[in-house]
Symmetry: C4
Subunit: 193 residues, 4 copies
Amino acid sequence: MNKNRLEAFSDGVLAILITIMVLELKVPATPTIDALLPVYPVFLSYVLSFVYLAIYWNNHHHMLHTVGKVNGAILWANLHLLFWLSLIPFVTAWIGENHFASLPTGVYGVVMLMAAIAYFILQQIIIASQGAGSLLKKAVGGDWKGKISPILYLSAIGAAFWLPWISLGIYVLVALIWLVPDKRIEKMFMREG
Amino acid sequence: MNKNRLEAFSDGVLAILITIMVLELKVPATPTIDALLPVYPVFLSYVLSFVYLAIYWNNHHHMLHTVGKVNGAILWANLHLLFWLSLIPFVTAWIGENHFASLPTGVYGVVMLMAAIAYFILQQIIIASQGAGSLLKKAVGGDWKGKISPILYLSAIGAAFWLPWISLGIYVLVALIWLVPDKRIEKMFMREG
Amino acid sequence: MNKNRLEAFSDGVLAILITIMVLELKVPATPTIDALLPVYPVFLSYVLSFVYLAIYWNNHHHMLHTVGKVNGAILWANLHLLFWLSLIPFVTAWIGENHFASLPTGVYGVVMLMAAIAYFILQQIIIASQGAGSLLKKAVGGDWKGKISPILYLSAIGAAFWLPWISLGIYVLVALIWLVPDKRIEKMFMREG
Amino acid sequence: MNKNRLEAFSDGVLAILITIMVLELKVPATPTIDALLPVYPVFLSYVLSFVYLAIYWNNHHHMLHTVGKVNGAILWANLHLLFWLSLIPFVTAWIGENHFASLPTGVYGVVMLMAAIAYFILQQIIIASQGAGSLLKKAVGGDWKGKISPILYLSAIGAAFWLPWISLGIYVLVALIWLVPDKRIEKMFMREG
């Protein structure tokens, strides 16, 4: 299987996910400030999830850039990642419509944790497929972002049942950590090319 | 007509189908476990259909990989397959919202059976278009998966009106049978290339 | 502007349109035949519109195949066509939910007529851009399908307020007329190539 | 990162946005003129937003046509633009369902203003990345359209709380100003090529 097909399919799914979330922004019934204001938590969660999906799209590209041939394991690890990402519109709407209540805020973290694990699995499978001298392994290096994110998600899940706003702060923090495109891989290619 | 356009269009439709199913996961009105729990049958059926669509996408690619030129018959057989696949979100939601009741479970099998038949027709048309020494024919070989699936679907449809959970077990079984990417075609290309 | 971008964007819009129509198939509330049966008119109109959109996708490709460079007029004529096609899910749901009542059946014909006119305009603009010896002009020839369709749509719109089932029959007839991929253009390319 | 991926992802998001707006055209419950008529303001706002998104798609292409390599700043400025464009279906439905009342009409202008600013930022980042002799800078020239649009949006936002129909007229005016594809960039490429 060609890498381009995998990229195109993943791009398609990510483009749809990032866009259909807006369908959860329920149109207010009346043209008043009072009707618009309740939309703001859904809007905030929309912004957060938009940034997360954009980060995944961005890093997914950098990662696949190092891949030559796609095998069955890479293909299914990629679909596994898309599965968890596909749940983001659901938890985004739930968290927003309930004003960041404990349970939705915790479940949001669970989905994010599973997506991070799926991303890690995909990364390891690609590295394994590249054998010794893996381009991706060199690029990822110590992978401190990949290691700290699950810990932060776990903290956020725990905090959700106590002070969900702290969980929310952690989600924003993780997004900020990743927001900067992964310089390591970018640098690699500059050195290689 | 160029093969790439057919692939791109099919990829687009499959990416949309696999993604819009999540819109059927109704967001619980309250932030409680009691409100989340009723979502689990819809979630289970979502996982099952996600896997089915992923399998179709995967095998569809392997199959089209053997195709050179696309003719009108291939084009319409492909659209016929997409039509039946497009009904998956509908039956997935119906089966989930009714907790795998008899009728939806049976109708789910009917849609899967029709998709399998449409896939078989597409396969035969491609083989016919390739003439003697068809690459796809050699790759497909005895096609035991393609032959056993309709029989299993028919059993599941029958069982649905008696014990729908057995039907569900059969659907999971068919998915597992196909989950392994088709080694036959993969091997073919390794030998050829 | 590159032709590929226009094709990719049009493909995207058509793939989404053909797929989101299934969201209008409202999932029955209960797992009974009585709850499923009312879906059948929406299902029938879904099949009809699926075939129409598939025909447009197919012919659109054949037409663009003759195009070299895309200018502003082609681009906006193409968007104009996509606009009318984008209304198909709306009229499809309306016609189905009201069991092919007069007004929706007539409005369905109006949208189809406007799409046919938009297709004709796009075709003429491409022919004009190709100058004398236009490849598309030769391929289209007498264009009897393009000429008879608007007349049939107009008859169907008129019949809708009298016997809507006759209109429906006419829509099916037009679909059948177009269902055969345009041999003229296909032949052209075989002779040329 | 490759420019093609950025273009394909942006195309995907824009194709989805322009298409899902039609889901906000609520299907009338009955097959009567009385049930269809209330749809007309939503339809009008749909036409307006369809044209706006088509213009953005068109100009976005012309702009990216001048880009060689994509860096992180371009990538995130592009996602920022897509974010504001993704809110268009929401404000389109709100403005239409409330018959162009003051608040939705003003908020529509705010989203358009933010999208225009995001477009301007993206343009400036691309120009900066191209250094002296930027192809895009020459193409954009005095950029009177880019300068007058925010002023017109601001006027429309102000007018919304007084006479919303004037705001609507201004939105139509801005669309007409941009409707003509940007001759400057087109000319550039003709001279260059």
